[in-house]
């Protein structure tokens, strides 16, 4: 098939050269350039690239510039006096370190919990069951909702007096706890709610990967004498690695920028003590305290952290020819 395409392409190229045959070198170069696939395809990818590029990469560049100024309050930034003072301020700000720690905890616990719960869901659903689609639809439902919406539900779930969570653990003689008020509990409560919302997503990723594993793999493992658990653990789960990697990337990136949910749960830019992460800290410094330059510096830090996750991922994808 590939060969055929190559031949067809060669034929086309030859024809093009032949029609250019009598003209001067210069003209043929120009004409060939005008004829080239690059230029012909440019109207398709060009405008989206410009729009997206300006808003994404232009804004990041501008953000970097802003982070070097001392722009705060009203008025405008002064681009003549640039320096790294905002970054040194970050290093000295204990609130940044606390937010970083919380971000790391959120990122690790949330990602692992989502990966684990999603795997359980996917394995349960990856067989002939009645209403399988209905189950999948229900498990994925929270993911289709806005964080602002789910935050409302969880505020009520975590309500100290009337919340279902306290009522439930009350059955076992525990609680009540102030889930969203106690600094020791608040981060865990937020993570739990976010896992509720995201585990359906990992389930869908796993399900697609599971479906692409041929049934012979399961059968071979059975004939080889493996029980159900050993079969999944030694034969199936290792083959899910690409799915696990891509789901991890998405989950980590989300954990880095999670802001909406915290804003809605805590009614504003200031999460309860113990739940502040870099993303909320950044938004608060800018849009609450008008410390625009400082806020940009934190934003850029978040970008660099994301890049540290995306770049290796994209690189390996490129190496494998998946791009």
């Amino acid at each position: 098939m590939k060969r055929l395409v190559a031949i067809l392409r060669a034929i086309r190229n030859k024809r093009r050269i032949r029609t250019d045959g009598g003209t001067t070198d210069e003209r043929s170069t120009v004409k060939r350039w005008l004829d080239s696939d690059f230029l012909q395809s440019a109207p398709f990818w060009g405008p989206p690239l410009i729009l997206m590029g300006l808003f994404v990469y232009g804004a990041i560049g501008w953000n970097f510039l802003l982070s070097l100024t001392d722009y705060s309050g009203f008025g405008g930034p002064d681009y003549t006096n640039l320096g790294l003072q905002n970054y040194s301020r970050m290093v000295q700000d204990p609130a940044i370190w606390e937010a970083t720690w919380n971000t790391v905890v959120l990122l690790v616990v949330f990602t692992i919990a989502c990966l684990a719960l999603g795997l359980v869901l996917a394995i349960l659903l990856d067989r002939e069951i009645r209403f399988g689609r209905a189950f999948r639809t229900i498990y994925l439902l929270p993911f289709a909702l806005s964080f602002i919406v789910t935050a409302q539900f969880w505020r009520w779930m975590y309500n100290v007096n009337d919340g279902i969570v306290n009522q439930f653990i009350g059955l076992f003689g525990l609680g009540p706890y102030n889930w969203l008020g106690d600094p020791r509990l608040v981060l865990g409560s937020v993570i739990f709610a976010l896992v509720w919302q995201f585990s359906g997503y990992t389930m869908v990723i796993y399900l697609a990967a599971l479906r692409s594993i041929p049934t012979e793999q399961y059968e071979a493992a059975r004939v080889d004498g493996a029980g159900t658990f050993r079969m999944y653990w030694r034969v199936i789960v290792p083959q899910l690695r690409p799915a696990i990697v891509s789901a991890t990337v998405v989950l980590v990136l989300f954990a880095l920028k999670a802001f909406d949910f915290l804003y809605a749960v805590f009614d504003g830019y200031r999460p309860r003590q113990g739940a502040d992460i870099l993303a909320t800290k950044m938004m608060r410094e800018g849009f609450n305290n008008s410390e625009w330059a400082y806020s940009s510096a934190i934003g850029l830090t978040l970008f660099i952290l994301s890049l540290a996750v995306i770049a290796p991922y994209l690189y390996t994808q490129y190496k494998r020819g998946n791009l």
């Binding site: 041929p214 012979e216 059968e219 080889d224 493996a226 030694r234 690695r241």
Partner: protein, 389 residues
């Protein structure tokens, strides 16, 4: 080492809309210890389902499968002490060849690691794949993967090997090579083997015995030559052999001194001995293998000679496949054609009129309705016929 018995084994699938489909219908086969049994049949005949029931990958709707007199119907696959080679090989892509081969031993036995290692190395050496041990399946060629899949089954030293079309993904040359090698290995290991294939060359050359399935029912179990020369019914006769046996519908007419099989375009007289065998059926089917038909340029002289025209010749090198048409005096009737194979050095042209000789010794006769064999060819003459090909 085991004797495997299938006793009235039946598999019924229930479709989503409640329809029941009988995939395997009361199949009974006794497989001897160390035997190489080939299950063969057209696609969808139930041969793979039968194999998968032996493996424990498919439940048994009714009937029994036993291993050494122990009924194994309800024993899960992992405890059956069998090894299987899949059509797609089903090698674990994330494990090296060594890990692939040790997996089964680790899961199904308590063997210590060093002993497992030793056995893997030994088997790899036997299969000639010792230098591949640390590679992953993705880095191997199709033929190498095939060897690893075999090695993975062999290293287990199971009581039964099950093979589901293991050679069908190889190219023709490699397939022929592996066919011989598999036979050699099986003889050496002397392990009971059930081999599923749709390729009748494999069936004929590899098996100690062949079990032919069609539509879920067992048609015949026997040695390959038995099935070839003494087919139990029309299906087996048509399925075994390439090009397949010619079938001619006839009507039985008894006249004063002879019995005649009346085909559309010619009459064929048969001896009394054969005639008594076919008396059950008024419209028996006459079967004759292509290589048993003689062709000559002489005019018809014998009562078993028929005039025919050569329609097409396909030279194969060692032989010619000749499509013969019987001439019809009545042009409204469609010409009937049969296939004959003759020696590759003989020269004929299409359109040429020849005489086809259908020796009575070589004919088969089948019941017109049931398809059951009423008379099979005489075997003692088979040998003397051969050089004439």
């Amino acid at each position: 080492m085991a004797q495997t018995k299938l006793n009235d084994v039946t598999k019924v699938f229930t479709e989503d809309d409640g329809n029941e489909i009988v995939a395997v219908d009361e199949v009974s086969i006794d497989i001897d210890d160390g035997e190489f049994l080939v299950l063969v049949g057209p696609s969808g005949c139930g041969k793979s389902t039968t194999l998968r029931m032996v493996a424990g990958l498919e439940s048994i709707s009714s009937g029994e499968i036993s291993l050494d007199d122990r009924v194994i119907n309800d024993i899960p696959a992992k405890n059956r002490d069998i090894a299987m080679v899949f059509q797609s090989y089903a090698l674990y892509p994330h494990m090296t060849v060594r890990e692939n081969m040790s997996f089964g031993l680790e899961e199904s036995t308590d063997m210590p690691d060093d002993e497992i290692d030793e056995r893997v190395e030994e088997t790899a050496e036997m299969m000639g794949i010792e230098e591949l041990l640390d590679r992953k399946p993705g880095e191997l060629s199709g033929g190498q993967q095939q060897r690893v899949a075999l090695g993975r089954a062999i290293v287990r030293d199971p009581s039964v090997f099950l093979m589901d079309e293991p050679l069908s993904n190889l190219d023709a040359k490699l397939r022929a090579e592996m066919r011989t090698e598999l036979q050699r290995l099986q003889e050496e290991l002397d392990t009971t083997t059930v081999y599923v294939t749709h390729d009748q060359t494999e069936a004929m050359t590899m098996g100690d015995r062949v079990a032919i399935l069609n539509d879920g029912t067992l048609q015949q179990v026997g040695t390959p030559l038995d099935c070839y020369h003494r087919p139990a019914n029309l299906f087996v006769a048509g399925f075994v052999g390439e090009p397949s046996m010619n079938f001619i519908d006839t009507d039985l007419h008894s006249e004063a001194d002879e019995t005649i099989l009346q085909a559309d375009l010619f009459d064929y007289s048969i001896s009394d001995e054969i005639a008594t065998k076919v008396s059950d059926s008024s419209d028996p089917v006459l079967g004759i293998r292509p290589e048993d038909i003689g062709i000559s340029e002489d005019p018809p002289s014998d009562k078993h000679d028929v005039a025919a025209t050569i329609d097409v010749i396909e030279p194969m090198g060692d032989e010619n496949i000749v499509y013969l048409q019987f001439d019809s005096e009545d042009s409204s009737r469609e010409a009937e054609s049969i296939i004959a194979t003759i020696g590759g050095m003989r020269q004929f042209e299409s359109g040429q009129t020849v005489t086809a000789h259908i020796p009575e010794d070589a004919i088969h006769l089948f019941h017109g309705e049931t398809g059951e064999a009423l008379h099979n060819r005489r075997l003692e003459t088979a040998e003397s016929q051969a050089p004439q090909l």
